[in-house]
């Protein structure tokens, strides 16, 4: 690949991140500050913010106005829906999913977290780690976001007190460890989004803090590569057939590598048929590749003519998933209509959508106490529960904890087509994993306040 960048800069990579926080933690201001200080805000946008700030009687620009997009949000001074923001430095391009904290927080956090490689959680330094903070962290852990940053905001309002910061950072680190985050995957940073301390520029007010600023960390944190031990998974999206002078009787299987790596010559199996063959070419319009890693959209040409169609999965012959028509899963319920055991739904997994029944609802995750409650009658909007899913056709699923792509599925309402839930194959959080042995009091997964 040739370099396409402006002379003097190298090719940036991409980091997808999500933000989450409670009401009034100043998240919109923090995101506005990141955009403002990385010069991602252009003059006319800034002029509009300055005018609106003056209209509101403010003396300094309200940076949260940069990100509150819908009129009802600006009128109410709140953020309703997940918004996507873009900023870039010479080192990295960033796609930021800005998830609101209070209205339907699970729905929004799950949406933002599903694609995030890192999440920034905000707390108010005056309030410390709240229930809401622990719930957000639990949802981020459930969705498998590999890295967390705790931005301890409004540090100026506690007089830049190191002791306050350390106490919050220590408490949060213990909570993250309980949720399964290894040491080194969580970082706390003292910031003031309003003033700008340690967001982009290092603050002189926190001489006791020796770690990176938020942006420095975002620029340098390793983008979690798909671990090489994760087996190759390739949902077939589309069969490409053509017959031209250059491409005689061409038949290729188009898709995006969901996990692992595929190489020319690999022995693979097509599921659900179970037929084995070999990868003879990995095609792209720019020329064939010797191998393709997770995230790449390619077209596989196979050695044998076998019957493969959209929705099938190509996997290594020696490490293929078992196709199951009944599996345990965790659902984050995103609909106003509650889930009741026995509900008939559609499940979209990879490129396949099949009828299914949520046959059993065995536990609900109590986000207030961070425990699991057995045998709930229903699962309501924004609740997380442990279920058994029966599908009309077997699906080649992986455990979500092993693979975020091939372990994820949508639950869809067959009547109106709406998305009802985010589905994760397997048990998810420790509290849900241990549900069989849980007492009515449940298993505590958090040290708690």
């Amino acid at each position: 690949m040739t370099s396409t960048e402006i002379p003097g800069t190298h090719t940036p990579d991409l980091l997808r991140l999500a933000t989450a926080g409670s009401v009034d933690d100043g998240k919109s201001t923090l995101v506005g500050r990141l955009l403002y200080d990385t010069k991602s805000v252009l003059a006319d946008t800034l002029d509009a913010v300055h005018r609106a700030s003056v209209d509101k009687g403010l003396t300094t620009p309200d940076l949260s106005l940069l990100v509150d997009g819908l009129r009802s949000e600006r009128e109410q001074g709140i953020t309703i829906d997940v918004a996507y923001r873009y900023f870039a430095t010479p080192r990295r391009s960033f796609v930021l999913a800005d998830t609101p904290g209070h209205v339907q927080y699970t729905r929004n956090t799950v949406t933002g977290a599903s694609t995030a490689q890192l999440a920034v959680l905000l707390v108010d330094a005056r309030k410390g780690v709240l229930e809401q903070t622990r719930r957000h962290a639990a949802v981020l852990a459930l969705l498998g976001v590999p890295r967390l940053v705790l931005a301890v905001n409004k540090i100026d309002l506690v007089g830049y007190d190191e002791g306050v910061f350390e106490a919050i950072a220590t408490e949060f680190a213990a909570h993250a460890t309980a949720l399964g985050y290894p040491v080194g995957s969580v970082l706390s940073i003292p910031v003031s989004a309003l003033v700008g301390d340690n967001v982009v520029d290092r603050s002189t007010n926190t001489a006791w803090y020796t770690g990176p600023t938020l942006l420095e960390h975002l620029e340098t944190v390793p983008v979690e590569p798909d671990p090489h031990h994760v087996p190759f998974r390739f949902p077939v999206q589309h069969v490409i057939r053509t017959n031209t002078a250059e491409f005689t009787d061409y038949r290729g299987y188009a898709g995006q590598v969901a996990a692992g790596t595929v190489r020319v010559g690999d022995e693979v199996v097509a599921l659900p048929a179970g037929v084995r063959t070999t990868v003879s070419r990995i095609d792209t319009p720019g020329g064939p590749l010797a191998e393709a890693e997770a995230g790449r959209s390619v077209t596989l040409v196979l050695a044998d003519e076998i019957d493969i169609s959209r929705g099938d999965l190509i996997a290594p012959a020696h490490d293929a998933p078992v196709a199951a028509d009944e599996f345990g899963a965790t659902l984050a319920w995103l609909s106003d209509k509650p889930l009741r055991p026995g509900s008939r739904v559609l499940v979209k997994h990879g490129a396949r959508t099949v009828p299914a029944i949520v046959s059993e609802l065995s536990a609900r995750f109590d986000e207030q106490r961070l425990v699991s409650v057995p045998d709930p009658l229903s699962l309501e909007l924004n609740e997380i529960g442990r279920v058994t899913v029966r599908t009309a056709e077997p699906l080649p699923v992986d455990d979500y904890a092993v693979n975020r792509r091939s372990g994820a599925f949508l639950v869809i309402d067959p009547a109106d087509g709406s998305t009802l839930a985010a589905g994760l194959v397997g048990a998810g959080l420790p509290a849900l994993r241990d549900q069989d042995s849980s007492t009515p009091e449940g298993d505590l997964v958090s040290p708690g306040p």
Partner: protein, 320 residues
Amino acid sequence: MTSTEATTEPATTGLTTTEPAAPTAMDALDRLESEAVHIFREVAGEFDRPVILFSGGKDSTVLLHLAVKAFWPAPVPFPLLHVDTGHNLDEVIEFRDRTVERHGLRLVVASVQDYIDDGRLQERPDGTRNPLQTTPLLDGITDNKFDAVFGGGRRDEERARAKERIFSLRNSFGQWDPRRQRPELWNLYNGRHRPGEHVRVFPLSNWTELDVWRYIKREAIELPSIYYAHRREVFQRDGMWLTSGPWFGPRDDEQVRELTVRYRTVGDGSCTGAVLSEASDIDSVIAEVSASRLTERGATRADDRLSEAAMEDRKREGYF
């Protein structure tokens, strides 16, 4: 509504098959391209009658380039739809027709002029036709039973677009209800819709203007010549440089000058302005965009300046 069928020839990118390339790490543009290709293929699998909105502008040209890559070496399995305001620059229409022919695609044109001629729409006093596009667009979608409509919209263009989904469900009036949007999880897109509804699909959602320009350079994508600096007769209105033309100006009090300009977007010539620029090739355009202190919409689109919520209102009405 007219339809032109171009000669069919296989879509190719002009690149030939060589020995398998050694692996290189994906950069930001590779990831954006792969995401867009994935979206095109999902739509091909889940919808019966998709269509690509194609104006000949840079975003829709990049969109078409990505579609070609998604289905290569087979041709793009969708037709194109252009909502023609009748206020286009000749260079853009020429480019549009040439591009359609080169890829062997079918172009459906929904003409605002036709609607004005037969009385279904009335010319506005200010002569601006962007707000008139919604009706021909929705009729074009309904008449052709299109169920997925690809657009080149990007979330970085405007604040209301920042909350747009990649798959955006529209009711049978083409309306966007921000509160009825589906959560969009992982890369699992839900394209289910009821009869009469359709889904707008935005494969460039996560691209910025600079990404688009860098990609145009990397892929050597041809654009209409108006995107690069050229001499043009222009006049100033509302702080924008509009081009001279028989249908919208200049008025008697507006003085025409010949200046070196380029366009950052294509659109209705009565409200899409040129910017003063010496950027005559792709590298100087990228340098200019990198340094620019105005968003492309703020710089050049009068209709987005009308109110704080202008775009949000137009999206609710069924605009792109």
